[in-house]
């Protein structure tokens, strides 16, 4: 086969000097074509997904225009659809989730990367990975039977008695609502924050820590003032990743948010989120406008997570490139 070394230009990156004819006879070109078709399918599917979402949301885009996002009437009977309560619910619950999950997650990541011996750190990371594998419907199940009763009986009355003067903690304690959804979401995204932040922290060069310690800083000061700033962008990346997860999360939120399209400053109030309304009303949507309004909500969700994921990946890549090429801690 190597006998046909003619002047035909080479075809592939590895194949080097062998001619197209010999590569064809060896089956290389066929293998290349076949695998290319499979790889191309991935691109095709992704493009088709965007196209379908765009095409299937034609009616509401043309009927409501931008008003879709700023009106809060959701009335299938009179064909009036405004997404504001759902956008509000999605943003509030995801924001609450980050408020709880970020300090906890980064704290745990610091422990795993800076303090724990490698063996302990790896074991704990193994459990964290398992936690990330728990399906969302299981979180929802525990949310319904554990978190909601706890919230109704202890947490919400407690918050009302101590911080009830704030507008966030007023109104009747139903158990379901923004706060409950935020807490369940927080529990769900903590593993993502820990895993990514830990990787980023571990990739911070060892000299950075040693220099800080040599200058007389305590362990915490070296972590807080040197290691964390160095890993800042990567940690931001993990937070965006978690935010994207929280925005798109469906089952757990649907089961605990209360499914009422309201906009209320009180976190005790039942609400609704984009993903939850799609999950609940999609099969019952009568009429094209209703169904397509739900699909437009899906499009909004897609665009949001698309932007956040892109941003997150960029930040993580930037940090890991900065930290690479040097020794690991």
């Amino acid at each position: 086969m190597a006998t046909t070394t003619t002047t035909v230009p080479s075809a592939g990156p590895i194949a080097g000097s062998r001619s197209f004819i010999s590569r064809l006879r060896d089956g290389d070109e066929i293998a290349r074509l076949v695998t290319f078709i499979f790889a191309g399918t991935v691109v095709l599917i992704t493009l088709l997904l965007v196209y379908e979402l765009w095409r299937e949301s034609y009616l509401p885009r043309h009927k409501f225009g931008f008003g879709f996002f700023v009106t809060s009437v959701w009335d299938p009977i009179f064909d009036k659809f405004g997404a504001l309560p759902f956008i509000y619910g999605t943003v509030v619950t995801a924001g609450l989730a980050l408020l709880i999950a970020v300090p906890l997650g980064i704290g745990a990541a610091i422990f795993l990367a800076e303090l724990a011996p490698a063996r302990v750190s790896d074991t704990l990371q193994f459990f964290i990975d398992l936690l990330a594998a728990v399906p969302s419907v299981i979180y929802g199940l525990l949310g319904v039977f554990v978190v909601i009763p706890l919230m109704r009986q202890y947490v919400q009355p407690g918050l009302k008695n101590s911080l009830g003067f704030l507008p966030f903690f007023q109104g009747p304690a139903y158990g379901v609502g923004f706060l409950t959804a935020g807490i369940v979401l927080a529990i769900m995204v903590i593993p993502y924050i820990i895993s990514v932040s830990r990787e980023v922290l571990i990739s911070v060069p060892r000299d950075q820590r040693e220099a800080a310690l040599a200058l007389g800083s305590t362990r915490w000061e070296s972590t807080w003032k040197v290691v964390l700033p160095f890993a800042r962008t990567g940690i931001m990346g993990s937070i965006f990743l978690a935010l994207a997860r929280a925005l798109g999360e469906t089952m757990a939120v649907t089961m605990v948010i209360g499914n009422t399209p309201t906009i209320s400053a009180s976190l005790f109030s039942p609400g609704y989120s984009i993903a939850a309304v799609i999950a609940n009303e999609f099969t019952e949507a009568t009429g094209d406008l209703y169904l397509q309004s739900l699909i437009e909500l899906g499009l909004v969700l897609f665009l949001l997570t698309f932007l956040l994921n892109g941003l997150a990946r960029l930040l993580i890549v930037v940090t890991s490139q900065r930290g690479s090429g040097m020794g690991q801690a």
């Binding site: 990156p13 590895i14 060896d26 499979f38 599917i45 088709l48 704290g107 704990l124 399906p135 999950a279």
Partner: protein
């Protein structure tokens, strides 16, 4: 020791203890979930659960045999769609592609991976359910398969890339063609990694509920065929958990326990395969 230094040391110890507590809380959640499911679900898992159909509303008892079979059918379809595309696509990315096409494919896969599962459900609905005018097992399997593609693709590619270049060059120096090199040297060297990738992708979609809600829908009886709606474990957990009947709640716990055990066992097995005698250094 000055007061200032003592204060700094106190702060250091205090904050580091707090980080330890954070880690403890995070891991404790896992054991809480497990313990709670075993406690509530363990008493409800019985032989009937695996062999009987759901009882009519109001009657106590019954099982979820149809949901278990339904889940198996959906996952089989998902594998049929997701594994070949992910596997062969990864071979193209790691072995054949130049720069631009690989970048586009990777970008598309990452994009697909980040799409919320409910949106995947909408896509499967408009692509499979609408043309057939019927909720079906096929549509559900299609949705789950879509979710498997990017996970399988990206991790398989990484494991293929981790195979040392010297192995490829050795095979080609012996006169093997490129696809023969890939089939008989590269893939065997990376097979543990690839198996892990597929198992993890499988475990990930096994618990997905949202994309099944309006594709496979649900069914109180045996699904009559691939083009008919079918029950599945995750959707059963959802409908049973939000229903007002105590007996259904009991069954939801049992289904949760079965589903979670399956997923955790697959995860653990995948990690054991990867860590034991890897032919290729881990990346």
């Amino acid at each position: 020791m000055s007061t200032r230094l003592r204060w700094r040391k106190f702060v250091s110890h205090f904050m580091l203890t707090m980080t330890g507590l954070c880690a403890l809380v995070a891991v404790a959640v896992l054991f809480f979930i497990l313990g709670y499911l075993v406690y509530h679900g363990g008493t409800s898992v019985s032989w009937n659960f695996f062999t009987k159909l759901p009882a009519p509303v109001g009657e106590v008892g019954g099982g979820m045999a149809n949901a278990i079979v339904g889940s198996a059918k959906l996952l089989l379809l998902a594998c049929l769609l997701g594994v070949p595309i992910g596997f062969f696509g990864a071979i193209y990315l790691a072995e054949f592609s130049g720069g631009t096409i690989a970048f586009v494919v990777r970008y598309a896969a990452d994009l697909l991976n980040g799409v919320p599962s409910i949106v995947i459900g909408i896509f499967a609905y408009s692509l499979v359910v609408l043309p057939f005018k019927h909720f079906s097992t096929l549509a559900g399997g299609f949705a789950l398969g879509l979710m498997m593609i990017p996970i399988t693709l990206r991790s398989t590619e990484e494991f293929l890339r981790a195979v040392p270049r010297a192995l490829r060059e050795g095979a080609m120096a012996l006169g093997a063609s490129q696809w023969k090199t890939i089939a008989s040297v590269v893939i065997p060297a990376a097979y543990r990694g690839i198996l892990t990738a597929i198992l993890l992708a499988f475990a990930r979609v096994a618990g997905e509920t949202a994309p099944l809600l309006f594709t496979a829908l649900g069914n109180r009886f045996w699904s009559p065929g691939w083009t008919q709606p079918t029950a599945s474990l995750p959707v059963m957990i959802f409908t049973y958990a939000i229903a007002p009947y105590d007996d259904w709640h009991r069954q939801a716990w049992a289904a949760g326990l079965v589903l979670l055990s399956l997923i955790l066992i697959i995860n653990i097995v995948a990690r054991v395969i990867l860590s034991r005698g890897v032919a290729v250094p881990r990346t």
